[in-house]
C-alpha cells in the first residue's frame, strides 16, 4: 500500500535518513522501532510531506507522493498523529475533531457529525469532554483526541508517531487496545515506537532503524527472536 524506496533525507549538513526502504501492507500494523534520533519521526514527516526527501520515492497505492503538498497527501488518504500529540490546546475537543476534517472541504455537516459520533464510539471518554478545552485534559485523553482528530480525515493509512510517549502504563494498554481495534476495522497502520515489546505484540511486521538505516526487518515473531532487537530494545543481554 505504501512504499518507501531509497529515501535520503538531510537537515542541512546533517543526514537523517541514509537510503530507507520500507513497505506497509494493506490491512496490517507495521511498526518502526528505533532509539532517539534514529530517524523514525523523519520517516513519518517525509511520508506526510512535512519534510522533503533529498532523494528516493514515496508511493501510496501506486501514486508518487514526493512532490505533493501535505494537504494533497492527506486528501489521498494518509493521516498523521504527530509525535507529542500536538492537539490544539486552547480549542475544545469538538473543535479539534472538526478541524481534523479540514481537508474534506464541501462535505455536508451531517456527514462530519456522523464521523464525530463514530470517534466518540471509539473513545467514549472524548464524548464526556466535548466542550472541554483540550489542553486541560490528561496525556492519555490528549492522545485519544489526537488519534480521533486524525481519523476525521477518513484516512486509509494512519501514521502513529510514538503514541505511548509520556503515558502511564495503564493508558498505554488502553491506547494500544484502541489501535488494534481500529486496525481490525480495516485501517492500515504504520506505528513508530520506542516501546518495542508493546509495539511488536500488536504489529504483524516491523523494521528496526538505527541512525538513518534499516538494520533489521521481518515479521514480529522474527524480530522478537532477532539478536539486534533483543539486545537493543528488550533489555536482554
Amino acid at each position: 500500500m505504501l512504499e518507501l524506496r531509497q529515501i535520503v533525507s538531510q537537515y542541512g549538513p546533517v543526514i537523517a535518513l541514509r537510503g530507507v526502504d520500507l513497505t506497509v501492507r494493506q490491512g496490517e500494523i507495521t511498526c518502526l522501532l528505533g532509539g532517539n534520533a534514529a530517524g523514525k519521526s523523519t520517516i513519518m514527516k517525509t511520508i506526510i510531506g512535512l519534510v522533503r526527501p533529498t532523494s528516493g520515492t514515496v508511493s501510496f497505492e501506486g501514486q508518487t507522493l514526493n512532490k505533493l503538498p501535505t494537504r494533497a497527501i492527506v486528501s489521498r488518504g494518509i493521516a498523521l498523529v504527530p509525535e507529542g500529540r500536538r492537539i490544539f490546546g486552547r480549542m475544545t475537543v469538538w473543535e479539534n475533531l472538526a478541524l481534523g476534517a479540514h481537508v474534506r472541504r464541501g462535505r455536508p455537516q451531517a456527514e462530519i457529525d456522523e464521523d464525530i459520533e463514530r470517534i466518540y464510539g471509539l473513545f467514549p471518554r472524548l464524548r464526556e469532554r466535548v466542550t472541554q478545552v483540550a489542553g486541560t485534559m490528561s496525556g492519555g485523553e490528549q492522545q485519544m483526541l489526537a488519534m480521533g482528530r486524525a481519523l476525521m480525515a477518513r484516512p486509509r493509512l494512519l501514521l502513529l508517531d510514538e503514541p505511548s510517549m509520556g503515558l502511564s502504563p495503564a493508558f498505554v494498554d488502553q491506547v494500544f487496545d484502541i489501535i488494534q481495534a481500529i486496525n481490525r476495522q480495516g485501517m492500515t497502520i504504520l506505528l513508530v515506537e520506542q516501546n518495542a515489546n508493546v509495539a511488536l505484540s500488536i504489529a504483524q511486521r516491523g523494521y528496526v532503524l538505527t541512525t538513518g538505516r534499516i538494520v533489521a526487518s521481518g515479521t514480529s515473531a522474527e524480530l522478537l527472536a532477532a539478536d539486534e532487537v533483543r539486545h537493543a530494545y528488550l533489555g536482554e543481554a
Binding site: 492527506v74 486528501s75 486552547r90 480549542m91 479540514h102 466542550t131
Partner: protein
C-alpha cells in the same frame, strides 16, 4: 452576565454609536468619536492578523500609512489627480492587500518574536520612505507631507463636517465587523485558529498554511489601508508622523486590551485607548500616567482582555 453582554452587547454598542454624536457637547467630541471609529477599524484589521491567525505584527501602521498616501496621490493637487472617492478606495484596498502579501511572503517561515522583529522593520522602513521620498523626485512630500487632499464625495454630495465623517466611518466599521465575523466562522477562520494554536499540527491536518497566512496579512492590510484612506480624506493632509511606531503599539494594545481574537473586544479596546487620554486631559502631565495605570490594572484584573473570544464549540453546543 457575560452571556447577556455578548448577546446584547453589539446591539447596545451600535445604538450608542448611532446617537453618540447627536448628544456630543461640541464638535471636538464628535472628532474624537470619529477617531475612535477609525482606530476601531485598525484594531479590527490587526485582530485578524494577530487575534485570528496569531501572527504578531508590530509594523501594522505601515498599511495605514500606505492607504493614506495612496489616497493623497490619487486625490490631491500633488500629482494633479482627482479620482472619484470610490475609485480611490478601491485602488487602496488592492494596493494595501498587495503590500500585505509582500511583507507576508518573505516572513512565512517566521514565528512569534522573529516575525515581530521583521514586521517592526517593515513599519520603520515605510516611515523612513515617507520621510525621505521627496528627493530626487518629490513623491511623498517628505516631512512636510501632502496637503489640500480632496474630501470624500458621493454623487455630488461632498462630506465636510465631522459628524458626516463620523457616520461614514461608522458605516465602514459596521461592514468590517460583519466581515470579521463571517471570516472568523468560515473555513479560512478555522484554518487561522489552527495555525495560531500549532502550525505544524495545522499543516499535518491538511491546512494550507501558506495561503492562510498570506490571506490574513492581505485582509488585515486592506482594512488598515482603507482606514488610512479615510484618515487622509478627513485630515485633508497626510504627514509621515501620523504613522510612527507608537501607533502600531497603540493598535496592538487595543487588540490585546479587548481580548485577542474578539471582534467586539477590539472595538472596546479602541474606545478605551482613544478616549482615556481625552478623558484625562484635565490632568495635564499626569494623563499618560493615569492612562498607563488603567491599562496595567485591566491586564491584572482581566489578563485575557476585556472580552475573551467566544469559542466555536460553545456556539455549536448551544444550537444542539
Amino acid at each position: 452576565m457575560t452571556e447577556r453582554l455578548t448577546r446584547y452587547g453589539p446591539f447596545l454598542l451600535a445604538l450608542i454609536a448611532l446617537v453618540a454624536p447627536l448628544l456630543a457637547p461640541n464638535d471636538y467630541v464628535i472628532g474624537v468619536l470619529a477617531r475612535i471609529c477609525l482606530y476601531a477599524l485598525l484594531a479590527l484589521g490587526l485582530n485578524i492578523v494577530v487575534g485570528f491567525a496569531g501572527l504578531l505584527d508590530l509594523g501594522f501602521v505601515a498599511f495605514f500609512g500606505i492607504g493614506s498616501y495612496v489616497y493623497a496621490f490619487l486625490a490631491s493637487p500633488h500629482f494633479g489627480l482627482h479620482l472619484p472617492f470610490a475609485a480611490v478606495m478601491l485602488v487602496i484596498i488592492f494596493t494595501a492587500a498587495g503590500s500585505g502579501v509582500l511583507i507576508g511572503a518573505p516572513t512565512l517561515r517566521l514565528r512569534g518574536d522573529y516575525l515581530a522583529i521583521v514586521t517592526l522593520g517593515f513599519g520603520e522602513i515605510t516611515y523612513i520612505c515617507l520621510v525621505n521620498l521627496d528627493r530626487p523626485v518629490n513623491i511623498t512630500g517628505g516631512p512636510n507631507g501632502l496637503l489640500s487632499i480632496d474630501p470624500p464625495s458621493f454623487l455630488g454630495f461632498v462630506i465636510d463636517h465631522n459628524i458626516e465623517y463620523y457616520y461614514l466611518f461608522l458605516l465602514t466599521l459596521g461592514l468590517v465587523v460583519l466581515l470579521s465575523r463571517r471570516l472568523r466562522d468560515s473555513r479560512i477562520g478555522w484554518a487561522w485558529r489552527a495555525i495560531r494554536e500549532d502550525e505544524i499540527a495545522a499543516e499535518a491536518m491538511g491546512v494550507n498554511t501558506t495561503m492562510a497566512k498570506l490571506q490574513a496579512f492581505a485582509v488585515g492590510a486592506s482594512i488598515a489601508g482603507f482606514a488610512g484612506g479615510l484618515l487622509a480624506s478627513w485630515q485633508r493632509s497626510v504627514f509621515p508622523d501620523n504613522f510612527l511606531l507608537q501607533e502600531s503599539i497603540n493598535i496592538l494594545a487595543m487588540v490585546i486590551l479587548g481580548g485577542l481574537g474578539s471582534v467586539l473586544g477590539a472595538i472596546l479596546g479602541a474606545v478605551a485607548i482613544v478616549s482615556l487620554p481625552e478623558i484625562f486631559r484635565d490632568f495635564a502631565l499626569y494623563r499618560l500616567l493615569a492612562f498607563g495605570l488603567i491599562l496595567i490594572l485591566v491586564m491584572i484584573l482581566r489578563p485575557q482582555g476585556l472580552l475573551a473570544p467566544r469559542s466555536g464549540a460553545r456556539r455549536s453546543a448551544e444550537t444542539k
